[in-house]
């Protein structure tokens, strides 16, 4: 089981005449493997989120391929690609992460409801456990629009975990969180990797390096793997 990108490129035009092309992602290769936490670091606007969106089947690359177990996911029809997102990928997006008009519980169960799995055995217990673990058990019936940034982030993480996906793709999962919660979330992500999931984390946060197995650096759309990374030192990493 592997999710990989092969020389994916994504470009945009900065003016309406479609000249002045700039590359958000320029020929990126990355492989996500079960049991491993991959971390992409890089400064804002370097293309990290764009790459993650391409890996999760949300943004069609202009060049290159995204392969899940050797199969190009963008060759799949919309229904199948959506089914992949529902069943194989757990997304923790940045920005609009929850539906504001739904309660925390409704938001959590939404992806499962799309699959008709919301009443499956164990879902209730797992939801309760995760809510308690991340310290938001009392917010179950609160509308998402009434939550703070950190609370929203934690709900969004639980939602991604509830679907028991093969790959967890987290965009800045520790932003808006205090030190204690950062530690809780990172432990949770590491645990998910130990249980056989492939985890990709995009972050500015140096703390994330504590759970990192494979480290990538993104700069101006170009992805570079830090080959010498073994969790030994932070000195080689330029995380601006």
């Amino acid at each position: 089981m592997r999710l990989e990108s092969r020389s994916v490129q994504k470009w945009y035009f900065r003016n309406r005449f479609q000249s002045n092309r700039f590359f958000a992602v320029h020929g990126a290769d990355i492989t996500l493997l079960p049991g491993r936490v991959s971390v992409i670091m890089g400064r804002s606007g370097s293309g990290k989120t764009t790459l993650m969106q391409m890996l999760s089947g949300l943004l069609t690359p202009d060049e290159g391929k995204v392969l899940l177990e050797g199969e190009d996911i963008y060759a799949l029809p919309d229904e199948k690609l959506c089914a992949l997102r529902r069943t194989r990928f757990g997304m923790i997006p940045q920005g609009a992460d929850l539906l504001p008009q739904l309660t925390v519980k409704e938001n959590l169960l939404l992806p499962l409801a799309m699959e008709g799995r919301e009443k499956e055995e164990g879902v209730f217990k797992m939801t309760r456990d995760l809510l308690e673990r991340l310290g938001i058990a009392d917010l179950e019936d609160v509308l998402a629009r009434e939550l703070s940034g950190g609370e929203r982030r934690r709900v969004s993480i639980i939602r991604a975990l509830l679907g028991t996906p093969d790959f967890l793709l987290a965009d800045e999962p520790t932003s808006d969180l205090d030190e204690e919660n950062v530690s809780l979330v990172l432990t949770l992500l590491k645990k998910e990797a130990r249980e056989g999931r492939g985890v990709l984390v995009i972050s500015h946060d140096q703390e994330v390096l504590s759970i990192c197995d494979d480290l990538y650096q993104m700069e101006a759309g170009t992805l570079t793997q830090k080959e010498d990374w073994g969790g030994r030192s932070l000195l080689n990493i330029t995380a601006r």
């Binding site: 989120t49 764009t50 969106q53 391409m54 999760s56 949300l58 943004l59 069609t60 919309d78 229904e79 959506c82 089914a83 992949l84 997102r85 529902r86 069943t87 997304m91 997006p93 940045q94 920005g95 609009a96 992460d97 929850l98 539906l99 504001p100 008009q101 739904l102 519980k105 409704e106 169960l109 939404l110 992806p111 499962l112 409801a113 799309m114 699959e115 919301e118 509308l143 939602r159």
Partner: protein, 399 residues
């Protein structure tokens, strides 16, 4: 959490937005239902008028043209009376081409102690009448005994009650079905009762005599022309053969009403069109703006694995629920205006006005609901298409 409930939850938890959409659709259904009911009532009124006239020519005293005209009594229920000699009935029957002729006698009651209400009394001869009798029979009124009256639907008296007209007590023997014309405000009796009432009125100083020695009078003569005869020529012949009388072709009366109806219908239909067009444009803009406001929400749904088809379905279902509720609200509001103010509408239009039967109203309501829902679907289609086509990654990046 059930995904099928998502559209309902979206609407319920955004009451301001939902209310705006419901009200916009309500404007559409209000104009469609209200306008159609008014136009249908006018058309039905014209149909009823044509049916009730049932004659080709009506002969009335010449003075009726200047006094309270026959048309006013017939269309608007104006209370009045005019007389000519009964001799004109015999003279009319003598004209070649006349198949049958039936006389009516009018009497206006007073708003005084002698009378229960001010009302138009119409005396008919059940033996020869071919205009009112079929209507009486259709309404289940069997014959008219002496001192019995049958009342129009708008007369405030019920079967079994007694109406006092010039101190004479008349028994209400039946109530007629509505016609939408002035006839709904009249009461009907036989000629023998009418003679008694005329004498009683005479005693109160209301004279019906056309001359000192002519007490046998009529107010209108309804004429049916034989098949194959030219109605215009027969009309001229009657005009020449009768005295102090005018012969009116009923077609000209209907044509007048029909032209007014056509003009009013055009105005109402034009208004419906304009309101509908404006409402549709506003709905279109509202859906487009809401779609723009909610693009992050839809992008998130795509992130979570919602298909384009499911997203379109979600928008359509929300539009359907809003428009259906708006449709009901609009129809309800139109009902509150069209039915309680029916008499006011009728009076201001001065035309026969007969509200459709419940089955007809149901069909109009169904049509208005259908049109509202279809408008909602059509106006939200563009927003649904645009949202489903948008790249979720790009939308999330914009957030």
């Amino acid at each position: 959490m059930n995904l099928k409930k998502l559209p309902l939850l979206n609407l319920k938890r955004n009451p301001g937005r939902t209310l705006a959409l419901v009200l916009l659709t309500a404007v559409l259904s209000f104009s469609i239902f209200g306008g159609t009911v008014v136009v249908s009532s006018l058309r039905r009124g014209l149909g009823s008028l044509t049916e009730r006239l049932g004659a080709d020519i009506i002969v009335v005293p010449s003075q009726a043209q200047s006094k309270v005209s026959f048309q006013d009594i017939f269309l608007q229920g104006t209370v009045g009376a005019f007389y000519m000699s009964r001799e004109n009935l015999t003279r009319t029957l003598e004209v070649e081409g006349v198949e049958k002729a039936a006389a009516q006698v009018f009497l206006a009651s007073l708003k005084a102690d002698c009378c229960s209400i001010r009302i138009q009394v119409i005396g008919i001869d059940p033996e020869t009448d071919f205009v009112i009798r079929p209507w009486l029979e259709k309404s289940g009124s069997r014959g008219l005994k002496d001192m019995d009256v049958v009342v129009g639907t708008k007369v405030g008296a019920e079967v079994g009650e007694t109406l006092r007209i010039y101190e004479e007590r008349c028994h209400v023997a039946g109530k007629l079905a509505p016609t939408g014309t002035g006839l709904d405000s009249a009461v009907y009796c036989n000629m023998s009762t009418m003679k008694k009432l005329l004498s009683a009125a005479e005693a109160k100083g209301i004279s019906h005599k056309v001359s000192s020695d002519d007490e046998d009078v009529v107010s209108a003569i309804y004429v049916k022309v034989k098949e194959g005869y030219d109605i215009g020529k027969v009309n001229s012949a009657i005009q020449g053969h009768t005295r102090k009388a005018s012969a009116i072709r009923t077609r000209s009366m209907i044509t007048d009403v029909s032209s007014s109806l056509l003009a009013i219908s055009r105005v109402i239909l034009g208004l419906i069109g304009a309101i509908w067009g404006m409402g549709f444009l506003l709905l279109f803009l509202a859906f487009a703006m809401i779609a723009r406001e909610r693009q992050q929400e839809f992008a998130l749904l795509r992130v979570l694995g919602s298909t384009k088809k499911a997203l379109k379905g979600l928008i359509r279902k929300e539009a359907f629920l809003c428009c259906l509720s708006g449709g009901f609200v609009g129809i309800g509001l139109a009902c509150l205006l069209v039915f309680p103010f029916q008499t006011l509408i009728e009076m201001s239009l001065s035309l026969p006005y007969l509200i459709p039967e419940p089955s007809g109203l149901f069909l109009i309501a169904l049509g208005a609901l259908g049109a509202s829902v279809a408008s909602g679907f059509a106006s939200s289609a563009f927003a649904a298409w645009r949202l489903s086509q948008a790249d979720p990654g790009r939308l999330l990046r914009q957030g």
